[in-house]
Symmetry: C2
Subunit: 191 residues, 2 copies
């Protein structure tokens, strides 16, 4: 999902600024889809504006820089729908953790233990963040939207499942790391 579409999608949920789009993309809802930086968001917004898929209004606020608030246009909404109706690219799941896991015998039990710990902590943190969106309640939008809620619940479910699985199977990986250590040393020395 390119930044352009992500911007359009976020703007379809309500008017915002480039600054806030970045926060959505890496903290809030939408953290599933992107992880965009200013360097990609601002040019994307400029381009969308040139294409008349969004409009801008400048809100001067005393003391602070001018906020450029973007709104999606009808054409923008149509373009978003068009993009979402295209064949969906497969989900991407890239796990540096699993690469470490695969080399458990080479890395030894201490490293594996700390890797598992860090990995689980990461998942817990992500889960907490997702839960916050749902529980937000009072805030004006996202958590209340049923479709967003469905997606968030799907994400939460996946995370909880992973944590359960790790809890139950981490010992096995740690044993592999401990047992294989000698083998790895031997085979490395043998070569």
């Amino acid at each position: 999902m390119n930044v352009r579409t992500i911007c359009l999608a976020i703007l379809a949920m309500g008017d915002t600024t480039g600054y806030e789009i970045r926060k959505h993309s890496l903290e809030g809802d939408f953290s599933y889809f992107a992880d965009a930086s200013y360097g990609s968001i601002y040019p994307a917004l400029a381009r969308l504006q040139a294409e008349e898929l969004v409009t801008v209004r400048e809100e001067a606020q005393p003391g602070k820089p001018v906020r450029k608030v973007y709104s999606i246009t009808e054409a923008g909404r149509a373009e978003l729908i068009r993009a979402l109706n295209e064949p969906i690219a497969p989900d991407v799941f890239r796990s540096p953790f699993l690469l470490v896991a695969v080399f458990a015998p080479l890395l030894g039990p201490q490293r594996i233990r700390s890797a598992i710990e860090a990995h689980m902590a990461q998942i817990r943190a992500d889960r907490k963040q997702l839960e916050a969106i749902c529980a937000d309640g009072d805030s004006h939008a996202q958590g209340d939207d049923p479709a967003t809620r469905w997606a968030v619940e799907y994400g939460l479910h996946c995370m909880s499942m992973k944590l359960d699985y790790l809890e139950q199977n981490r010992a096995r990986l740690e044993e592999i790391a401990a047992g294989g250590g000698e083998n790895a040393s031997r085979s490395a020395a043998a070569e």
Copy 2:
């Protein structure tokens, strides 16, 4: 995980060629970690060779092009271990499907149904592929390695969980798509 490390990792499992590395990275084991193309693999291998982290031997085979078979060196193995001991980057999970799901009310039930169908088919296909690695058995390596097996089982578990969850909750999303459709039209028309 950059292509360089992926190449090193694959070579740590056994000698291969650039051509086969690509296959590993998008079909076999390792499909979790990368999705590299020739355009990145060949330059990476050349660089690794220059750094003396791998060596090459050319195997002439009559009729076919020369195979350049790469082997990891001791320095390469050390570099891989060093890379794997660095702080692990968080897992990346990017789901174009969930973006579609979030806009279910805007897209309507037919689209959502087909999106769910395609998504589940994709997961099933991925699962089949992973199962093949494990069940390979007779082939000389990966499926038998306990750490690889652990990682594969983790992946299989996640996929099965997702499928179960989708099976049980797809109806709810389809309803949201159906019910919300009118709202979306109204709100779109109202603006």
